[in-house]
Amino acid sequence: MRLEIQNVSKQYDGKVWALRDFTLHLAPGVLGLLGPNGAGKSTLMRILATISNPTSGTILWNGTDIAAQPDGLRAELGYLPQDFGVYPNLNAVEFLEYLAAVKGIAAGAARRRIDELLALVNLTDARKRPLGGYSGGMRQRVGIAQALLNDPKLLIVDEPTAGLDPEERVRFRNLLSELSGERIVILSTHIVSDVEATATGIAIVSRGRLLAHAAPEELLARLEGKVWEWIVPSADLPAARQRFLISTVTRRSDGVHARVVSDAAPGPGATPASPTLEDAYLHAVSTHRAEPA
């Protein structure tokens, strides 16, 4: 099972490049796709989900070009878009039955699968209620269920935990981890902790380009010795922000604890800290922003 993204670019209306020369090779596991708003993550996902075609470049799913023969991938694809709706007057079972049919799942198998998935996403009790009456989190869970209907070999989820309560979020993370052994999961999110908990690989994207693709441990290792915890007086914080990349700030009784990413200690009293993925992400994106467009 292999997904090869080769030199993919996408241009909208002949003007804006949403993706540029994007190359990435994936094997089974969870890929956390991180990037700021407008980085091109959703464009990449739409292309991988065969909704959109790239302007140039190719994507091979087990050696087959998905632009030329999309149905091969579609049969094995689960996709949860970032913004999706439902038919408000159908209930969860009817909606999932509909999508199961569209995905080509046999009626008997679909029924069993829908029951299991509704139990998995904790919606069994609400299965007969019209979707229009669902909360945002419940709809999101319906979205997760539909993405898993056909037992996909490639699962693409765009901001899947948006709107979920903490308990559901943990549940979903665990589910992704369990699923990852036998398939490729691409998880796009702004929530670094979601990636931290599940991803076996991380791709950082900014302005349509791939900035980094590595295992989480490797990304963290690159920042070893470059993250500092520094206590600064409140009044000096704005000046510190101007000079250094500060990833988090915590106010405590002894002053403001700033987490600084810097080659050298930012000031007297700064102590080395263990890098986190958030530090690595901010570092990669800031580095790229500092480069000319």
């Binding site: 909704i51 959109s52 999706f84 049919a101």
Partner: protein, 537 residues
């Protein structure tokens, strides 16, 4: 094409529609139409005759009613199925599945057909009730009652179902222009069938009806020709009656009718060719324009960097980005709370006009100059009518913009949304009406033609009021686009004095103008009630 997939696409879409409140409203209107037919406000007559209400005649009357009304208004009811998937994002999920374009669109057309089929079925049942209610003929002949629905109504509905899908797939026809354009297509098809006596062009089947009924009526005493189908209030006449024993369907009649199913299939295939599968860059028109070089599709400049090179750690750390820099907002010196109605009107007017091409303005200017230049009379009336068709897409957005663009929560939570914003929308619509036809008003004023001036001013107020109430209550622009175009055609264009809401007729009746003025006030009140309901919800 997988029949199970087709069935599920059609089923889900059908259930989603029939469980909506708006479908209940549609059914209520259907029953009302049947009631009006029973009251004698919908009639088929041949000269001074009408058929007695036996199974054949009520079947004919209500099948013709169903065919005419559904092919007109039904189009606007069903033309939203692909759009719903596009808007809700369900389309994105569908696009990532193996379902092919033809199956998807066929499922949608099938759902369209089922929805309008339910309406037709209700009218068919109403035909039976009507025969029993009127009790002019005792025996019930089910074949004569049902066969007009089978051969006249169903083929037309099948074509309509596919045509609605086609309109949703062709970019230029998807929006308001398509809604207005369809009305003219409908008028064209309706007229072509009657005038050309060609069953392959006669969507409604009116020529078959006319030929069949007139063939029987020509032997009636005193019959001097004539055939008409009238919907709505009309001059009540005491018709003489005759017995019409129904259609004797021949291959020459049935084959052209069944050919509309074939036309429906071809239309569906055409729609599939245009369908973009929820990605505009896959659309036929886009691909053609790219092929013709009308759109740029440059390849991305090659990037020599490899991923490994890109992922290499930088030698030195960057300066912090602006994202982490502190931000400051300039505090407002004082909160402005004065009521600026004029500013809101100007803003609404700007919203209405924003995004129109220069060609739109050029045509509007031409019509404005035309209403100034053409002397009073029939020609000026016609020009006024066209001047008030041109901004139909501006008016049709009134009251729906908040729902369509999702700005409702922002607008409705602002101060005086009902007392200020809603009237401002209406005033902006009135301004558009006055501006696009100012010449007519000026000429009427100069000529001291008070009836026409009053009618013009009333029309300028009536149209935006109608748009506003339909937009607020339906949440869609289609209803106004469909109804207004029909009203516009039947009233000012024909012209029918009672329906001439703008004074386009050579003689303007102050009494009728007064009715429309009163209707304007009623419509505004209804719009306010609808908006209040939206705000509270």
């Amino acid at each position: 094409m997988n029949p199970r997939v087709l069935y599920h696409i059609a089923r889900a879409d059908f259930l989603e529609r029939v469980r909506r409140y708006s479908f209940l409203v549609t059914l209520a209107f259907t029953l009302y139409a049947a009631f009006e037919a029973n009251r004698g406000n919908i009639v088929v007559n041949v000269g001074q005759y009408r058929g007695i209400y036996n199974s054949a005649w009520v079947g004919l009357l209500l099948s013709l009613t169903a065919t005419v009304l559904i092919t007109w208004i039904g189009f606007y009811i069903i033309k939203n199925t692909v759009e719903r998937d596009r808007r809700t994002g369900v389309g994105q999920i569908l696009a990532s599945t193996p379902v092919d374009r033809v199956t998807y669109l066929a499922g949608k057309a099938l759902s369209n057909f089922a929805v309008v089929g339910v309406i037709a079925a209700i009218l068919m049942c109403a035909a039976l009730v009507m025969q029993l209610w009127r009790a002019e003929a005792a025996g019930i002949d089910l074949w004569q009652l049902v066969s007009p629905f089978l051969f006249l109504t169903l083929p037309a509905l099948a074509f309509l179902a596919a045509l609605a899908v086609l309109f949703e797939c062709v970019p230029g026809l998807r929006g308001g222009f398509g809604n207005v354009f369809y009305f003219f297509c409908w008028v064209g098809l309706f007229g072509a069938g009657m005038e050309l006596h060609n069953g392959y062009l006669d969507l409604v089947g009116a020529d078959i009806v006319q030929t069949s009924v007139v063939a029987r009526a020509k032997d009636l005493p005193g019959y001097k020709g004539g055939f008409s189908f009238q919907i709505g209030p009309h001059e009540r006449k005491a018709f003489e009656t005759f017995v019409w024993d129904g259609f004797h369907w021949t291959a020459a009649q049935v084959i052209p009718r069944l050919s509309w199913f074939v036309f429906a299939l071809l239309t569906l295939l055409l729609a599939a060719a245009f369908f973009d599968r929820f990605d505009p860059s896959r659309g036929l028109l886009h691909r053609v324009s790219v092929a013709l070089g009308l759109r740029s599709l440059r390849a991305a400049p090659a990037q020599p960097q490899t991923v490994e090179a890109q992922t290499a750690a930088p030698d030195s750390l960057p300066a912090p980005s602006s994202a982490t820099a502190p931000t400051h907002l300039t505090p407002l010196a004082q909160l402005q709370s004065t009521s600026r109605f004029g500013a809101v009107v100007a803003a609404e007017l700007r919203l209405m006009l924003k995004g129109r091409s220069k060609w739109w303005y050029l045509v509007a200017l031409g019509l404005l100059i035309g209403t100034c230049a053409v002397p009073a009379g029939e020609a000026q009336g016609k020009l006024l009518a066209f001047a008030w068709l041109w901004p139909v897409l501006l008016w049709s957005a009134m009251g729906t913009r908040e729902a369509q663009s999702g700005t409702g929560p922002l607008i409705f939570s602002s101060a005086r949304a009902l007392g200020r914003q809603l009237p401002a929308v209406w005033v902006a619509g009135v301004c558009v009406a006055l501006l696009t036809s100012a010449g007519f008003g000026v000429r009427s004023l100069v000529a001291r033609d008070w009836p026409h001036l009053f009618a013009w001013l009333t029309g300028a107020m009536f149209i935006p009021a109608m748009a506003l109430v339909l937009g607020v209550w339906s949440g869609t622009s289609k209803l106004f686009e469909g109804l207004y175009t029909g009203f516009w055609y039947a009233g000012p264009v024909q012209p029918t004095p009672a329906l001439d809401f703008m004074g386009a007729s050579p003689v303007a009746s102050p009494r009728i103008t007064l009715y429309y003025f009163a209707a304007t006030l009623a419509l505004l009140a209804a719009a306010a009630v609808g908006r209040r309901r939206q705000i509270r919800r």
